[in-house]
């Protein structure tokens, strides 16, 4: 029956040695795609796209700022869902995915704040303002740091993952706040330029590098998550035979 084989391969993929091998096979491909798409996006964004009629060349920060901002929210959502699965079904791999996503999400949130600040200075005349969009993105960074800190505060890693998972789930409420803040409150931050379901307010020359970089950051996340998850599984399963074998094989090299 169909309902029988789907949980079977999912169950197998959830076992640490299988996932270790699976992630190890896909990781280089994801990283290659990320680098390739990233290079194409940079070429399109920095060299081919024309300067903006209002913002001049300063707008080119958009090609890293907006994809990073999207990733900061996307990764948080993944972390929230994985934490929920981990709490309800106690799946070890879901804990690993949730906790190893946190540093990557924090990295993208940090990039978003720094690049936004560097964009805000010449356009708004200030590095920072306490408006809804900027403040909620800063709260997102603190949520990530809180999850990472709470996870490491416990002696028992699984207990830490459970506590941090709770915080991650509660913090999910902030994601729609970040997203809709430009519509809900009066803010200095410009409204969204890209609209998935309608006409985007952006010329195609500028839009395609932005979308390509968005795809590149997605593949980057997969590559980084797999790299981190594999390392974490080795650390967690240190006493098991499959990890011993890897430790011995790599010593010979």
């Amino acid at each position: 029956m169909m309902s029988d084989w789907i949980p079977l391969w999912l169950h197998k993929l959830g076992s640490p040695p299988t996932f270790y091998r699976f992630a190890g096979t896909l990781q280089p491909w994801a990283m290659t795609l990320a680098l390739l798409l990233g290079a194409i996006a940079l070429y399109g964004g920095l060299l081919l796209a024309p300067a903006d009629y209002q913002q001049g060349d300063a707008y080119r920060i958009i090609f890293i700022h907006v994809p990073s901002a999207w990733m900061s929210m996307f990764i948080y959502a993944v972390m929230g869902v994985a934490s929920f699965i981990a709490l309800v079904w106690r799946i070890k791999l879901a804990e690993v995915v949730a906790m190893q996503s946190a540093p990557i999400g924090a990295a993208f949130t940090f990039i978003t704040l720094v690049t936004g600040s560097l964009w805000g200075k010449p356009m708004w005349g200030t590095w920072w303002t306490w408006d809804a969009r900027l403040t909620s993105e800063l709260v997102l960074l603190f949520l990530y740091l809180g999850v990472i800190g709470l996870y490491h505060a416990f002696e028992d890693r699984r207990q830490g993952a459970r506590a941090a998972g709770f915080l991650a789930i509660i913090g999910v409420i902030n994601v729609p706040i970040v997203h809709f803040s430009v519509n809900w409150w009066n803010t200095l931050h410009q409204g969204s330029t890209v609209n998935v379901f309608g006409q985007s307010k952006m010329a195609w020359d500028m839009l395609w590098p932005l979308l390509t970089m968005t795809l590149a950051t997605k593949f980057y996340y997969v590559a980084s998550l797999f790299r981190r998850a594999r390392t974490d599984l080795l650390d967690m399963e240190g006493g098991k035979d499959w990890v011993r074998k890897i430790a011995e094989d790599e010593a010979d090299r």
């Binding site: 060349d57 920060i61 700022h65 540093p103 690049t115 964009w119 980084s224 390392t231 650390d235 010593a251």
Partner: protein, 68 residues
């Protein structure tokens, strides 16, 4: 102004555009390197633990049995 100089000048916004791109790459490179370093450390510690274990087992085994 040459095309290259024109490119690096970023229409007068070089001081904002290039640091933004630098931040993007520096943070992501650090994110890429951190798990590699951790992996190396984890495996090194595991090998050290395994070596200690096998040394202890040899000490407890009778001296007549030669180690392979």
């Amino acid at each position: 102004m040459s095309a290259l100089q024109h490119f690096f000048a970023m229409g007068g916004y070089a001081a904002y555009v290039w640091p933004a791109y630098a931040a993007f790459f520096i943070v992501l490179i650090a994110d890429t390197l951190a798990p590699r370093l951790r992996r190396r450390r984890v495996l090194r510690e595991l090998r050290a633990r395994l070596a200690r274990q096998s040394a202890r087992q040899q000490r407890h085994s009778p001296p007549s049995a030669p180690s392979a």
